[in-house]
Symmetry: C2
Subunit: 210 residues, 2 copies
């Protein structure tokens, strides 16, 4: 198998951090999306959607969504469990992973894709051009992000990690989303002491630099 990766992009980093937590090594190839390599003929044959990461299995099947790639490895290497180990845990972790995507990562992406000069005319990932930025959507994303910070802080006053008292894939998504958000000048509020406590714990894990 081979993992198509890009060191500077947030979604491939989710997979790298997940693999590091599991202690799994996979051969990788860099697809530099800042040089438009995701739109090359060669990579379009692997993933016509023009996004990284993509995991190609030995039988040729391509998995092109970061969370789905993580699930694949969770099945092959169940320990340490990062998606939960019983029905309730699995549902709660999945719920938090989705909430982070919808209420934190999504709004951050709306800000970044709709305001940074480098994404001018390509505000949707995977399309090389023809999608103008929407400043109003960036503003909406900024408000949603702030709202989520206000919700998350008291929650992290009651549990050590995002989905409870066990580290999970939801922590990976949240940690990388908040790091990515900085590119859109979205910061964790200085008075969100619980989020800051959690963030300092996650950043000290070896996987944080994967």
């Amino acid at each position: 198998m081979k993992l198509y990766d890009f060191a500077l992009a947030p979604n491939p980093r989710r997979v790298r951090m997940f693999l590091a937590e599991k202690g799994i090594e996979v051969p990788t190839e860099q697809i530099n999306t800042r040089e438009a390599q995701q739109f090359s003929n060669e990579f379009q044959k692997i993933n016509p959607r023009g996004t990284v990461p993509a995991l190609v299995l030995d039988n040729g099947t391509a998995i092109t969504e970061s969370v789905s790639i993580c699930r694949y490895f969770e099945e092959l290497h169940p320990e340490p469990s990062l998606f939960g180990s019983n029905a309730e845990e699995k549902a709660v972790i999945d719920m938090w992973n989705r909430r982070i995507e919808i209420e934190c990562y999504g709004p951050a992406a709306d800000v970044v894709r709709n305001s940074l000069e480098m994404f001018k005319d390509r505000a949707i990932a995977g399309l090389p051009s023809g999608v103008p930025q929407l400043p109003d959507l960036a503003a909406r994303g900024r408000a949603s992000y702030a709202r989520f910070m206000d919700r998350l802080d008291p929650k992290l006053g009651k549990s050590q990690f995002i989905a409870g008292n066990k580290f999970s894939v939801a922590d990976i998504t949240a940690f990388i989303a908040m790091d990515f958000a900085k590119r859109g000048q979205l910061e964790v509020p200085a008075d969100a002491s619980n989020i800051l406590r959690w963030q300092s714990e996650i950043v000290s894990r070896p996987s944080a630099s994967a």
Copy 2:
């Protein structure tokens, strides 16, 4: 346990269709979001995000994301499997379920929430007011939806169902997304014969009317 449901909303319908495929019955209570019941004090205690569906377990845990609720039931009642039964199948079904959400359901929701009079000033689900509609986002959603139809049609010429040759949760998401999309005047193109073939197969399943 109890499932908080609303007969006219697409996300609760995903759970109902999933349960019907599994042959599972769960006690339900209707939360009429057209009468703002999701913002009542009583329901806010169950799900402060103000969305349905929500599944409350006997120990009080609330699962408030439709796919996470489906995963919970998949764990308790693995057959018939709707999330896949080995690592590769699980990853491929998860990938397609996500793609449908990101490239089909999401754009449809952008159109509906940002153009229908009933969502004026509340363009984000779960917020009672203060979120103006963005007509440019509705237009972007319309273009994304059309682009996805163009991609999906040849794909459904090569496999019976969305994620391969087995019915899965990705078919449920896609079927309900396309039904919901009609509220925004988004139709399956008349020449998308493979999508139309698939749609006629899904609509004939008893679960389609759940």
